[in-house]
Amino acid sequence: MTTRFDALTRPKAGDDHQAPSKHRSIGFVLAFVGLMLAAVTLIANIAAANSDTETGTTAAWSFGLTVLGFGTIKLAIGLVLVGILVRLWFRVTAVKDACANLKPDAEAAAPRGTVQTEFGECTETAEAPGPLPIHRMARTMWFPMLAMGYMLVFVGFVLSLVWSGKVEDGTQQAAQAWTQGVQFLGEGMLLAGVSFLLGSILAALREGGGELQQSLGLAVRTLKMPKTAKLFVGFMVAGLMVSMVQFVLYIAAASITNPQSFAAWSAWLGPFREFGLGLLLAGIVLALVTIGNVLAFQFSRVREIITTGK
């Protein structure tokens, strides 16, 4: 299964590296659709606030539609990230060819084990290191997370229509709890899918960098997992767990019949589910920072190869 999803992130035979990314174009269209869904709910909220009768009904379906809009943009972001992965492999091939031509002749130095660089501690090996377990997991999990996440967000939107229909007779509590629980579990999974794609980008940078150095017969220098990457994994796992716990708690809240108790539960479950998304988003920040650091290390290494041949 890993291979099947991994194939989606690599160029196919005969793909033109000069052609613009299709993933990017489709991603931009999807992102625009998501933005428009959010715009519809903004207008609906303003209209409902000025109406004496519509407020509760509009709040229900507009909640579902907004989260569907957010989910659509997150799916678009996932698609753009797949486009980045495909481009990264084109780049590996191009840099390999260029370095083979530009590298001055020099006797390759023997691998030194561990090396300290300005970008952090590195390992020097004779062969390219294999992927880390977290990289294998990222390559397996990004697709199921994105697919299940978007499905849950859509199911939640349908539930929000049920919630909306029950507002007038005052029996909306269970539908409200199910909508919020299901949609935010979906949101959490979508962000986890995006995080796994960022993990796959880090894996591609590691694998591509190793392949390049090995193909030139050089000692393979690989950056050790930085602290930001370890924290990224920690934030992602914590965020996903909070998203699952909030889902279970919303199911529990769906059976509460006392309106005052239900209001009290809702008062903290909302911020709790947002806390979970905040953890996942904080992890994404750290993943992007790690990618920036790895890129700086790789540019420096390529420059070293071109100028010294070692």
């Binding site: 993933h23 998501g34 972001i77 988003l281 904080a282």
Partner: protein, 204 residues
């Protein structure tokens, strides 16, 4: 005709280094990240206080307290979202900066003229939507504090309606931020495409 004529780029003798938004990205991602990880727990703690107030409510004073806390919870929660989305945007700008600086330095070390992609339209859309998202959420947060301060002087119904309208604006602000992030990441694919073509030229 070179392959890079498909792009709008500038030619210099030396690597251009970071541009202003990228320098800003380098400096600001960390403070924004710190602000985010502080704001979310504050909102969560306030929400527990509010839940307890609602559960034990016996009179109008409790209802007013719950309304005030409702606006404060939303305000702190969305300070968190504002900050974390800003941190993501700055981290993307930082990555674009790494490509610009690193690509320039490699071309310089080969002894070739340095080709640097001019800021693509997608990068401008990224920055525009990031700023609009930030302003929309920022103004909503300020107005939540105003509404929280007005509980007791305004009618409770007005306070609740402010909450509904601000919720719509907050959500739209988040959507604008996410839309901008999609374009920021899309810019990375353009830069990768440009650099892949340029690396091929260097080798010839």
């Amino acid at each position: 005709m070179t392959t890079t004529t498909k792009f709008d780029y500038e030619v210099t003798d030396r690597g251009p280094g970071y541009n202003k938004p990228q320098t800003m990205g380098n400096r600001l991602w960390a403070p924004m990240f710190a602000m985010a990880i502080m704001a979310f727990p504050v909102a969560l703690v306030l929400s527990w206080v509010r839940a307890s107030t609602i559960a034990d409510a016996t009179g109008p004073a409790d209802i007013e307290d719950a309304a005030r806390l409702g606006h404060l919870v939303a305000a702190f929660g969305f300070i968190g979202f504002l900050a974390v989305f800003a941190a993501i945007s700055f981290a993307i700008a930082r990555i674009l900066g790494r490509f610009r600086k690193g690509g320039g330095e490699i071309q310089e070390s080969v002894g070739n003229e340095v080709h640097t992609l001019k800021m693509p339209v997608t990068a401008k859309i990224f920055m525009l939507f990031m700023m609009m998202g930030m302003m929309t959420i920022g103004v909503s947060v300020v107005l939540h504090f105003v509404a929280a301060g007005a509980v007791g002087t305004w009618e409770l119904e007005s306070v609740a309606r402010w909450g509904e309208v601000l919720e719509g604006f907050r959500r739209f602000g988040v959507a604008m931020y996410l839309f901008g992030i999609a374009f920021g990441l899309g810019t990375i694919t353009t830069v990768l495409r440009f650099q892949t073509i340029r690396v091929g030229q260097l080798a010839r």
